[in-house]
Symmetry: C2
Subunit: 139 residues, 2 copies
DNA sequence: AATATATAATCAGTTTAACTGATGAATTTT
DNA sequence: AAAATTCATCAGTTAAACTGATTATATATT
């Protein structure tokens, strides 16, 4: 029995690795990586978030988040303003330049995903997404 | 539309991250990490592999592989012998101590996976695995 | 057979991200 | 008001990916 390649962890890792590698290649001209794209996506969907909010939701270390936001701010994709209700934290906002980046790569991201998921048909892909969402929302 | 958490990449990453974290915790007493467990699992399933074989199959950098094998050898889980047909490469073999480690943690790995996949029923879990295998084998 | 090319493993050095622990400023609790 | 907590930050450590070079061996070319 070949059990080494039968674990969910192994299989998930392989599929994810493939997606991330391809997606990262498409982000090179924009000088950000897949993780930073994810952070930007989160800020877009959750405006006025603090760095802590993002850290917790995306499970990225708080100290690493500092440098991600530093970087995204330097490139003009994100704006830090103090939260007037709690001046310890920031209210993060995506800039229009940041939105442009998201839009211009969103379709590409989906293309990549479809490419990797090509062995599945429509219905199977939908099922897969349903499963993943079900797992994630109960994590 | 909340699109940031709808991508396959994001969802796969979350599920995997959860599995890996939990599994890694269970490996602490054995002083290896999830990746090294994976390497060991591969060697067990593919005896006489070279370091290059493992690197390519698991997509782990060749230079990183050197230190993984160094480490696993030091702990007595793996044995390097020269491949008599090509003395540039090694024939890697798992030791009985290595096999013991695999066995003793294999059930634990499956428990973790089941725990994370708990929101799915039997049939759904099987479907998920089928999907992943289908994708992986055509990568 | 001699020479050139290619390959497996290794080593040294750089880069990136995760992580630990500490600090300052602001906020909340007692 | 004092103590405890929280958010962001910084300095330093660790782990892994990566680049480029080297050594030993193997293969291909002349």
């Amino acid at each position: 029995m070949e059990k080494w390649n039968q674990s969910y962890g192994f299989l998930l890792g392989k599929v994810l690795q493939r997606m991330e590698t391809k997606f990262a290649e498409g982000l090179v001209p924009y000088h950000i990586n897949a993780r930073q794209y994810g952070v930007l996506l989160f800020i877009n969907g959750n405006p006025y978030s603090s760095q802590k909010d993002i850290s917790e939701n995306l499970q990225i270390d708080r100290t690493t988040m500092v440098s991600h936001i530093d970087y995204l701010e330097t490139l003009g994709f994100v704006e830090r303003t103090r939260n007037p209700n709690d001046r310890r934290s920031y209210s993060l906002m995506i800039t229009s330049k940041g939105k442009d980046l998201l839009d211009s790569r969103w379709e590409f991201l989906n293309d990549i995903e479809l490419e990797v998921l090509a062995p599945l048909n429509n219905q199977e892909r939908q099922l897969l997404k349903d499963f993943l969402i079900k797992i994630w929302t109960t994590l």
